[in-house]
């Protein structure tokens, strides 16, 4: 699989090639419409303030994996994913460290039969910084045998008013769907376990945060190491 760097994501439609990995750079852009007519992996690693709307249209027999990592003061991401074709699968991994206020709205529309989606949105709110997650899953009537899984988590490192709104709108009987939401701190038992093996507080938090933010990412080892370095600057 090749890695293709898109230096500038244009506002007009982008058609992805078969079985490629794309690294999106989001400079000077507010809207992007992306047609997925094959299987593809898209990575977005962002350290800037951004306000952006994406629309993904996913065709038949496609697998889209989207890995987004944000670390910035102000993030507004609206992502609409239309799974229009049968037997298509979408995996969305969004991880972020909020340095002030990060807002995510994810709408996944299951518009056909045998479609599946899995969304993992994991955010870390440092100090009194805020994260807001709205994760909506829609299953249109007739989209039978569809499968939706939502995993939404915000880890608080201070006290703040972060929130998660996980919602499922299902207009079909033969569907598997589950959603989960957690807002809170790392568990005392987890910290004790790592401390009891000789890891100090900083090393323990660094491992927990790194695992929490990037374990689910299906990305290259070099990219994982790059993200670990970024995370270590803040923990």
């Amino acid at each position: 699989m090749n890695k293709i760097v898109l230096e500038q994501v244009k506002s007009n439609s982008i058609n992805l090639k078969d079985n490629e990995r794309y690294l999106f750079k989001e400079d000077n852009i507010n809207n992007a419409r992306i047609n997925v007519t094959t299987s593809a992996i898209i990575d977005i690693f962002n350290e800037k303030n951004i306000d952006i709307n994406y629309v993904f249209n996913v065709d038949n027999n496609c697998k889209l994996i989207l890995n987004i990592f944000d670390i910035s003061e102000n993030i507004n991401r609206n992502i609409d994913i239309n799974i229009n074709g049968e037997i298509s699968e979408v995996i969305i991994n969004i991880s972020s460290i909020s340095l002030k206020e990060n807002n995510y709205v994810l709408n996944i529309n299951h518009n056909n039969k045998n479609t599946s989606s899995k969304s993992n949105i994991h955010s870390l709110a440092l100090d009194d910084n805020i994260v807001s997650i709205k994760n909506n899953g829609y299953v249109k009537k007739g989209s039978s045998k569809s499968n939706l899984i939502q995993d939404n988590k915000i880890i608080l490192m201070g006290d703040n008013n972060s929130k998660i709104e996980p919602k499922l709108f299902i207009d079909e009987y033969d569907v598997d769907a589950s959603h989960g939401a957690y807002i809170g701190k790392f568990l005392d038992d987890e910290l004790f376990y790592l401390n009891s093996r000789g890891l100090n507080e900083i090393d323990s938090y660094r491992l927990l945060v790194t695992g929490f933010l990037i374990y689910e990412f299906d990305i290259l080892d070099d990219d994982k190491n790059y993200l670990k370095e970024i995370i270590s600057k803040y923990i």
Binding site: F192, S196, N200, L213
Partner: protein
Amino acid sequence: MLEIKNLYVNVDDKQILKDFNIKINDGEVHALMGPNGTGKSTLSKVILANKKYIIKSGNIYFNNEEITNLSTDEIANKGIFLSNQLPCEIDGVTTADFLRTAVNAKEENVSLYSFIKKIQDATKDLKMDESMIHRSINKGFSGGEKKKNEILQMKVLNPKFIILDEIDSGLDVDSLKIVCENINNYLKENKDASVLIITHYPRILEYIKPDYVHVMNDGTIKKTGTYDLALEIEKNGYETYKNNSASIVSE
């Protein structure tokens, strides 16, 4: 050598340990037995300075150095290891990653090759699937796999004092034999290492022979003896000790 003197411990304002005393010399194996809720697991967590437990008075010494007020990681790095009754599951942190960090915290200049060799040997000895060390810690593991993963960590971290908190729970007969064989081999290779086995049942003591057996109830040791004491408990249960306020020491 671990020594605990006159230890009183509270949890949520409830007294759990009362005037608890024990001395475990290098190379000794001690078993601490008792019914549910007597404070055995509390003791294991207090030794490792778990913040849920408040030491009201008393002292804990390790190799003649007081460790009562040290942090959990400082105590662990002195060579004390707790194999947990219910090992914690941690999403996203692999056993390999965290053990590598733990080894580096303890010893400097451990090469990646030596670390990988050590962890691979340990997985083979414990008949574990090597892929498990690259999965989230204990996530989706069976009860037996979790206990094996605890002993794997023991073998890699090389402690001087080992606390086995109900290591036999959740283990089938074959896995119990493998785990105990690994502990016994570790003790053969590390003659100075000592062990505190916390258990309800004497079954594990058939595999790891204790030098001393202590019966605990109501937050303190009621009787100390040899392996025969464990056999007596197997036969008569703990009822005798439940109403016995005085401590008995027998050799």
